[in-house]
Subunit: 160 residues, 2 copies
DNA sequence: GAATCTCCGACCAAAATCATCGGACTAAAT
DNA sequence: ATTTAGTCCGATGATTTTGGTCGGAGATTC
């Protein structure tokens, strides 16, 4: 439960990739094309294309349709792209319940004679939203340890 | 996105209801039946039945199959039922990604040549999990304002 | 024994999601 | 100018999840 959709995963992976790939390059933002990202991560190209289109439509990345040298590049600094923005671009406004939006007019929520759990649920939702908004693509650029380096496995003084 | 399923909503509503209804009653826990909850909240009975069965199977509530006086009652103190427990009971182990579990063997996640966003994603997931585990059914028992009391709508001194 | 309830499993329908395909347009390279 | 490699957009099909339904078995009270 509470799982990201694959599209969301793909979006995050792509943005992370685009961020790392253009590190240190100031001008001429490094443009990467769909196929490159897809092959790098084993993602069906056509689906990824749609994800990237969506991100572009939401200004998170810029499309450079320049023929053979075309592709995408980040539209802003990595730290200015929050995870909440990415998720909302991909999956629409996020909320735990249907009545999260239109807080007053709960047209749908009338189902329940009187819903007594709105307030606490909104608080939870707010917390999660803040969390997702406090993290950016920059925070995804951590060194990914190649898996399972159990702490204090190597005795001291014996470098590799 | 990140929406609860309706079953989860129903579960929370039911637990909240069962908690309020038995307030002040020490012994003989007030047993409520499925239909009562369903009618109270306009929920299809059969679906709610399944939700309650699931909760019972996970020990969150107790089933009293006593014929006409049968029904369900909370299995523990409201404060000992965390939202995380409820959600996991209803929707299975929660995690943002498919590879959330089996952290080492990422059999599925091999899709991505190398997934560089595991670590930060796990952190987010951990935060959300803590949040959901820090709140219990007791926290749902707040006074719910009857909706739309727009601030300072009524001029002072002119009651109703 | 009849009524009322839980319990369980199987089942169907609708909706969301994943994935694919085809066609239009653009700009660089030759 | 033609080719080529790319984006862009919409439509469509397949798969999965979810919401919702049904029928029968077992227990208990009246």
């Amino acid at each position: 439960m509470l799982k990201f959709s694959k599209r969301a995963d793909y979006a995050l992976l792509s943005l992370q990739y685009m961020a790392t790939v253009q590190i240190g390059i100031e001008a001429h933002p490094r443009v990467v094309n769909t196929k490159e990202i897809a092959e790098e991560h084993n993602i069906p190209v056509e689906l990824l294309a749609k994800v990237l289109q969506t991100l572009a439509r939401h200004q998170l990345i810029e499309s450079h349709h320049n023929g053979p040298k075309g592709g995408y590049a980040l539209g802003r600094e990595p730290k200015d792209i929050t995870l909440a923005q990415v998720l909302e671009a991909i999956e629409g406004p996020l909320g735990l319940t249907d009545c999260s939006h239109e807080k007053d007019d709960h047209s749908q929520c009338e189902q329940m004679n009187h819903c007594n759990i709105r307030t606490p649920l909104f608080k939870i939702q707010e917390s999660i939203f803040q969390l997702l908004n406090s993290m950016s693509i920059e925070d995804l650029l951590v060194e990914e340890t190649p898996l399972i380096i159990v702490e204090s496995l190597k005795p001291q003084g014996v470098p590799s």
